[in-house]
């Protein structure tokens, strides 16, 4: 059963073709990694999927419904969650309030508190829920982003380079978290860290110059010559 699919999705900025004619299908329950060199169009593609960027042409469907014309907030309400590549929390609000804002979209009253502490628990941010988010270390702000995504209890969780700037220990924690979420939700993971991709993803899609270069299991992708040349480097 396909949860998300795009057909002929393209975006040009002036003369620059950031994403060209992408057909992409993501089955329910899968953990899919989206990789590619810098500037390959990963964030643009994901931006069109969650409604931050309007496509030049093509369609996006979610759970069998065409959502191309829906504004971002309505797509989120259908069950998508997006965590930002550049950390985008509410720096002057307490950590718990950051997560509560995400949870309150679907819950009320007492349930919000429970969902907040559950989400913070899962990412391991339990020490200072009343601290202003801006005072957290960069790595902890990344984790807070993920907690905000989890609190939305999404059907599709889109993580844009979640491990960027995390320490080795935090990355191990993140991989454990993703494995823990497997089966609960569908995950689309933009990731540069190949170790994370190899260890967590069911399948991998490779973008290059805005086009899908290859798609397959991590092993297949690792052995694909075209991908090697474009991205992973030989050797």
């Amino acid at each position: 059963m396909t949860l998300l699919s795009t057909r002929g999705l393209s975006k040009s900025f002036g003369g620059l073709h950031a994403v060209t004619n992408v057909d992409f299908d993501l089955p329910k329950g899968e953990i899919r990694a989206l990789i590619g060199p810098n500037g390959a169009g990963k964030t643009t593609l994901v931006g069109m999927i969650c409604g931050r960027i309007a496509p030049t042409s093509g369609t996006v469907s979610f759970d069998g419904v065409d959502i191309t014309a829906l504004p971002a907030h309505k797509r989120i309400m259908l069950g998508m969650a997006y965590t930002f590549q550049i950390t985008s929390v509410f720096p002057r609000l307490p950590v718990a309030e950051n997560v509560a804002l995400a949870a309150r979209r679907r819950l009320h009253g007492q349930e919000v508190e429970a969902a907040v502490s559950e989400a913070l628990d899962r990412v391991g941010l339990t020490e200072a829920p009343d601290e202003e988010a801006g005072n957290l270390s960069y790595g902890h702000q990344r984790l807070l982003e993920i907690a905000m995504g989890l609190a939305q209890r999404p059907r599709l969780l889109i993580l844009d380079e979640p491990t960027q700037g995390l320490s080795e220990g935090e990355i191990d924690g993140f991989k454990a978290l993703i494995r823990d979420l497997a089966g609960e939700t569908t995950i689309l993971l933009i990731e540069h860290n190949m170790k994370v991709v190899m260890e967590t993803a069911d399948r991998v899609t490779v973008l290059n110059f805005g086009e899908v270069l290859a798609e397959g299991t991590p092993q297949e992708i690792h052995e694909n010559d075209a991908v090697q040349a474009a991205y992973l480097g030989t050797g």
């Binding site: 931050r52 907030h73 930002f84 804002l101 939305q152």
Partner: protein, 314 residues
Amino acid sequence: MSETQRILILHGGLLVLLFVLQFVLPAYHHGNLARIMVLATYAVGYNILFGYTGLLSLGHALFFAAGMYGMGLTIQHAGFTPAPALLVGLVAGALVSGALALLALRTAGVAFMIVTLMFAQAGYLTILYFGEYTRGDEGFVIQQAQRVLWGIDLSDPTNRYFAAWGLFGICLLISLWLVRAPFGRTLVAIRENEERVRMLGYDTFAHKLTAMVISGTIAAAAGAFYGLLFGYAGASFASVQYSIFPLLWVLLGGAGTVLGPFVGTLFMFYLIDLSSGITTAYMLIAGVVLVALTLFAPQGLTGELRRRVWRWLP
């Protein structure tokens, strides 16, 4: 003592204090305080949009005047009694702020300031243009006989004080309730990072629109009561000066604090009152004090209090 209890005691305490003060204050300050409470209500409305939602409007005089003229014109020309006239003022404020929100919220930042300023100027000029009915700059007096609300003569100082107190109390409590409710917290989040709020699934446009209508309606309530309690409606209340005042009061008192609007209005009123008793160049003294305050308490008086002492202040 829980945070909620502390908040209720502080804000309730202020209202009780203001209630009691009217029995002990000399006539001059008694009259001042009634005026300050109505103007502080205006600032409370402004604060919801500026302090909590982060939208700097330079056009709130339009809403204040919509309330004042909605009330005044219906009393003057349609023979309304105060109760329905006040209601017309409120509805006028809600409609005008809703219409302006639909247009102005398509912009952000400096453009939002300019659009609100321009529409407010257009409103001011409209009042002058229809001078036949509004009497323009000169304005018109609402006679004592026209100011009797449910048998209560609002030109009487005691009644006037109670009416001002009631208006201020209701709007203060609405503001307190609002900013602690999920809706108000979402407004604060919009102020902090609108794009993130949108990507959490909130319709930020609808939230900002609602905030602007609430803000504009409270401003209109203040305008309508001001006209009724002090018996006068004039075009100067629609001028750009009256858009700047609430901004100044809120900044001085503390933007994004529930008590800030009152503190700022009180402070500014008596700053001008006292310094004009010393010298005719009273704006010089006021100016120096304002500069000092901006330097040493950039978050306003209540904002500074929150930063240093009471971190729980809403």
